[in-house]
């Protein structure tokens, strides 16, 4: 595939629409203490939450952008031109009939109510800053499962929030986790009691509708001893003239023997700065698995992490990234082994198309006081066009006794013999390349729930349009 033949006409019609902006609550443009106090007041928060927000604001203002290692594009973000809180209502809705028409139509066009009926245990649909709709199957509530938006969770279940909130990802973890901690709004709170195993997934859908807006959802998921759950999130935004910021924070807590699987498919439009902090803490014999697909956004910086705190805990990250022209997918994974007998696995595949750039950035850390820990990391990158780019920035720190780490990465182009074979059998070059890319990521796509994997294959085909010719 030659340089210059990489023009794209990707069909983003599924997410590229918006409705008029008429908000009852608007914190205005720019960030200062008044904005933080406004958000806290509107949400009717306790004083400890306000103090948490204010100390996070101070940390955010002190910390520089991490551009000594991260892309310089971060400096293009102008925090003074972003709107930090926009909401149509403070009332949560339990039925789609109660949701305002334009919001309901948005989620209907994205297929959310249909998915809820078909295969989900519960849905949380967030429109800009606040959750517009949250519902869960009745029998789960009887089992003691809690699934609501974070604002409600913080008000009704302070005992969980005081114990776990901001503990897995502290305020000063990074500039963007500090920013989220100052202005967070929305996101989900999930608690699954001891021994309860959810057979169907919970889903959150994050939608940005307003221009120059920042979405800062905060999700806290706690799986009590022996509990199991799968949580899926999807993200879209229409394409605006100005940049949009999405800076979420997700904290997972898997107590003894619990299993959490967190699935993300983001398909933001290409002027969204997608800067997300995701981290889980796994206690003894617990398992945390991040399944991550990054297709959209202008720049994504996301490194799902697992802190393996308890003996024999297990962490896994499965990641797919597609970077098309003007996109930079800077993704990766972190595995922090703090207890003996812990194991982790990272599998990352990226495809760079046109002048797109896909980077893997990872860390595997095994502390000196651990033994019998194992990690295996595999990163494969596929470059489609002559001007495509891929990078791999892994870091391995291994001490302790009887620990082992293996990392391998490879970069390749599409196999010409494969393309020739398919073309001989009547496929066009576009179809052949598309099929080859789908084959490259196929073993990871299978890790997604079936409904998502079908959608993923379709999205990959769409991304490939115009990449050859």
């Amino acid at each position: 595939m030659q340089q210059g033949q990489d023009t794209f006409d990707v069909d983003r019609s599924a997410g590229d629409f918006k409705y008029a902006e008429d908000y009852a609550y608007d914190a205005g443009v720019g960030l200062n203490e008044d904005v933080v106090r406004y958000i806290s007041k509107v949400k009717g928060e306790d004083e400890w939450v306000l103090n948490f927000r204010l100390s996070a604001l101070k940390a955010f203002e002190k910390m520089p952008n991490p551009t000594h290692w991260a892309p310089k594009k971060l400096d293009e973000l102008d925090f003074s031109k972003i709107r930090y809180y926009l909401a149509k209502s403070q009332q949560k809705k339990r039925s789609w009939d109660e949701v305002p028409d334009d919001v309901k139509q948005t989620f209907e066009r994205l297929g959310v109510p249909e998915q809820e009926r078909a295969f989900l245990a519960g849905v949380d649909a967030q429109f800009d800053s606040e959750s517009a709709y949250t519902n869960m199957k009745e029998h789960l509530a009887k089992d003691g499962v809690i699934f609501c938006d974070s604002t409600e969770g913080m008000r009704r279940y302070p005992e969980f929030f005081k114990k776990y909130f901001g503990k897995v990802i502290p305020i000063s973890d990074s500039k963007y986790s500090a920013l989220n901690s100052a202005v967070f709004s929305g996101g989900s709170f999930v608690y699954v009691p001891k021994g309860v195993k959810l057979k169907q997934p919970l889903q959150a859908y994050f939608r940005i509708n307003a221009e120059s807006f920042g979405q800062f959802e905060r999700t806290l998921i706690i799986a009590d001893e022996g509990a199991e759950l799968m949580y899926m999130e999807g993200c879209t935004a229409p394409r605006f003239e100005t940049g949009t910021l999405h800076s979420g924070v997700v904290e997972l807590v898997a107590l003894k023997g619990a299993k959490i699987q967190y699935v993300t498919v983001q398909n933001w439009s290409d002027n969204v700065f997608n800067l997300v902090t995701q981290r889980g803490m796994a206690e003894e014999d617990a398992q945390i698995r991040w399944v991550d697909c990054n297709i959209g956004s202008g720049i994504t910086m996301k490194y799902p992490a697992v802190i393996l705190k308890g003996a024999r805990a297990r962490g896994e990250v499965v990641s797919i990234a597609l970077a098309t022209t003007k996109q930079h997918q800077d993704t990766g994974a972190k595995m922090i082994h703090l207890a003996s007998g812990t194991t982790s696995n990272i599998t990352s595949k990226s495809v760079s198309i046109g002048s797109g750039r896909a980077s893997y950035r990872g860390l595997v850390y095994m502390a000196k006081n651990t033994s019998g820990c194992k990690n295996n990391t595999v990163c494969d990158a596929l470059l489609i066009n002559a001007n495509s780019r891929t990078d791999t920035y892994p870091a391995v720190v291994c001490g302790g006794e009887n620990n082992s780490v293996q990392h391998e990465a490879s970069v390749s182009k599409i196999n010409e013999e494969q393309i020739f074979y398919m073309r001989q059998r009547g496929l066009s070059e576009q179809e052949a390349v598309s099929l080859s890319v789908n084959g490259f990521v196929n073993d990871l796509v299978k890790e997604f729930p079936m409904e998502y994997s079908v959608e993923l294959r379709r999205l990959i085909d769409l991304q490939m349009e115009g990449s050859v010719g």
Binding site: D391, P394, A395, V396, C398, G399, S404, A409, S410, V411
Partner: protein, 387 residues
Amino acid sequence: MDLSDISNAAKKAFADIEFPHRKDEYWRFANLKAWGVDGLLPFFASSQPPKGQPCQKARLIKEGLGGVALTLSDGRPGILKVPEGAQIMTMGQAYAANARRLQEFFMSATGKLDMFEATRAGDGVFVCIEEGASVELDMAVFSNAHISAAGAYFLLKKNSKLRLNKTSITFGGSLSSSRFGFELEEGASLEYAQAKFSDRAALMFEREDFYLGDSSSVVDAMSQEGLADSRSERNFNILGRGVSLDSRAFIKASGDTVADLRTKQIHRVGSSKSNLAVKAALDDSSALAFTGLVDVCEQAQKTQAYQSCRALLLNRDALAQASPILEICANDVECSHGCAVAEPDAEELFYMRQRGLPLDIAREMIVESFAATTFALLPDGLKLRAL
């Protein structure tokens, strides 16, 4: 511009360059207690330089180097024998004919320590291997002074061949900063074996730059052992087509030393091949800090580049830190890297102990076999001298 101008410009730049710090990705894993301002200051504050204990091993290595043709003692050249086909000159003698080359070489320094070496641009030697000649050269670099700088530039003209054996010793109480340049013209070939040893209470810094022209080839093997922290920076600039590079290193670390190795394989032009392999055996509470970069530029299609880092942990307090980086901007390439850290295989140890070998001998044999491939591609003579 003459050598004193280069030296003066370097002095000015040296003052402006920051000391190594954590935010520099290439110093990310380094022991900044040794290489930061607090670690370096005692060497530069000459009133009370660090004192090292006399080391028997360093003395023995030096005594065993009786027949070397070229020495650099704290940067001062000792030219004892000039092999046929080679010219060995001081930097001052070589400067007139190689002004631009040497200006670019010295002014390409970017860090505090390589810039320090450039402040003594007038010291050191320039070695030229004549077109079509085949030369063998033994060389030793000694650092005794509390701040010691040594530099050498090797120009291998068209179709020439150099078999170089280099031994570097940094004695206790010395901060050594060495800089070596290797320029290979079309079809030139370098076979390079080197052994490095640093004594207690010393710091050993070395930067090597390779500029590789069309169809040139390098087979390079380095072994390193020491009682003090060290830092090696090795830049392989692949500037021509058909280049073949094979670079291997074996590091044996013990005590509480940190062996720091930073490599760059920079493919500016396509159709070349590079392979870099680093192995480390880490005992006691020693540590490896490895950062390696494979950089393939947009026009370097048909490149093959490989990089591997393997570390053997011989003690539960030892630490391996590795960051093998790929930056690939061309699609028709084959590039990969691998990194593995583990202890000696328990089954292998069991097998040897069952046959009566004590544990320490069995472990030593495993380390020896682990290191054995490092010098495998070098001719026997060069291999034996380096070992």
